[in-house]
Amino acid sequence: MVPVSYYLALSGVLFGLGMIAFVFKRNIITVFMSIELMLNAVNLAFVAFSRALGQLQGQVFVFFVIVVAAAEAAVGLGIILVIARNRQTLNVERVDSLKH
Amino acid sequence: MSEFASEHPILLVALPKIVVLLFLLLTSLAYLTWFERKVVAHIQARWGPYRVGPHGLLQPLADGLKFLFKEDVTPAGADKFVYFLAPFLSLSLAITSIAVIPFGPREFTMFGQHTRLAITDLNIGLLVLFAITSMSVYGVALAGWSSNSKYPLLGGLRSSAQMVSYELALTMSVVGVLLMAGTFNLTEIITAQGGFHWGFLPRWNFFAGPLPQVIGFCCFFTAAVAETNRAPFDLAEAESELVAGFHTEYASFKFAMFFMAEYASMITVSCLAAILFFGGWLSPVPPAAFFWARYIPTGAFALAGLALIAHGVRYLTIFGRVLLPTLGLILCGLAALLASPGINELAQGPFWFLIKVAIFLFIYVWVRGTLPRFRYDQLMAIGWKLLLPLAILNVVLTSLAIVWTGR
């Protein structure tokens, strides 16, 4: 059997990698994808804990996280479309002022 | 030998099954193209492939050789990795979906291990099929984008938007069946459709149950035709429209991979339709006639073999006069094999299942030869405004029927 701590360590590593990508990447879409990576890492932690403690609430919560992430992706990508249309750039360093 | 088998069940039991099934699948893919060309041709009052081998039976072989030997052109500026990945992704996903389909009920022993007539029997078998279908959107979208060209990009985006839209209607139309069966396991869905009403009407999901799933089946089949990008929903890849859509810039073997992926998903969807709505490997013969009904497969094969021999000996070319009667003799031999008691039991389920799958494939080809194609906005309107509400209505009615009949 694989110890639960292995899964949690993997979840921590994935979350850290997502955080690194969030800080260092300059394309808005890639930054958004790193947010999804962090959410996935958290989902893995939830499922691992659900298995370790023998309760199903962890999986129910994962279900809700997936649904909310879908809604967030839809709206976030809509916002990205508008930004790309107005500023003609996808570089986060160039959309850092309210005045165009 | 059987201790080795029980310690490594994957090697000795699953691997031969995978190899046999893969071989059968690839052969039937090839001959499905022949079947389609012949049927569409006869619908259009012409002959179809006729010269390459008797009745064009060696045409798939010729096509395969052509695809292998054509020059492989890669467009300039194409993203190399994604350009090579897209057809592989499409084909491997389409072929993988055959792994969860059950072909028959009987268990048989191979090297001392009891196995069923399926590669796996998953508790979430149906969900795995939908997962594979939803991942196959990527093959189309990435193919269109990586070709670095206008028409493939537009065709790819249109095709993938169409596939995503009809996926919703596809999965919703199946929920009625799931409510009635109570499980995602395909084998259990089939066994829940066992039994006969009034002694002669089989209790398949299309005819019986708390609510006969007629709307569900019609939505499912229409959505499946659209999902596999087949006529009349094939605007994105039709020759007269966007050149050839997302696979314009693909040359010999990669185009063949897309081609095979499309036919493989046709076969998968036909298998699903047979399993979910028409009882899978259950026989339609009422129980009163069970005794002599066991010899229907034998009789069918023997008839086909004898007809082929009788036609073959008077064929035009010498090659045909040799090949066709040989095929007929092979079929008669199979018929004799099927009459022996052990194999007869085993072959009942797969025989009826394959008959149903063949009927659905014929309907697929028939629809292609008959109906004109839809314009893209009509297509999307049908998916969102007609099929999805119908599927939701089916779910509501099925739930009401289940609560009412108290099952």
């Binding site: 298995r51 709206v75 | 979430i124």
Partner: protein, 166 residues
Amino acid sequence: MTLPLFLFSVLAVVAVAGAVSLILQRHPIHSALSLIVVMVALAGLYLLLGAEFIAAVQVIVYGGAIMVLFVFVIMLLNAGEEERTDFSRMARWAGLPLAAVFLVEVAYGVARAASRLPTAAQAPVSTRELAELLFRDYVFPFELTSFLILVAVLGAIVLARREDSD
């Protein structure tokens, strides 16, 4: 090396490789493909943890719908490769080892703190149990999420609409 441990190692290596590839790739479409690989690897890990319905939902919703949305937007916006900026030498030569050290520390700390938890060997969770929990105790959040999705759909349509057409 038992089979679950072997499968876990393979899937974990694939997931971490996908995440690293997301950081290192220059074109957003390659980053998106790497993220899809991570998600499929995570679905395999959920299967190892006995959560079969969640694994299927992860592939269908996350891998088959959300990432398709990302790929569409990348194609529509014709996102090109990222421009090269001048990283300071220090950031490149010291940043990577420090990031690796940080990650190893996180993994070690988490693993040590959680080593007391048992791994009960249970059967995979059936969809029926999950559904009973979802539709009995959590039916109110369930209905709220359907409302949330409706709001998200409306928001996305309004945001992406062009100003000149009506």
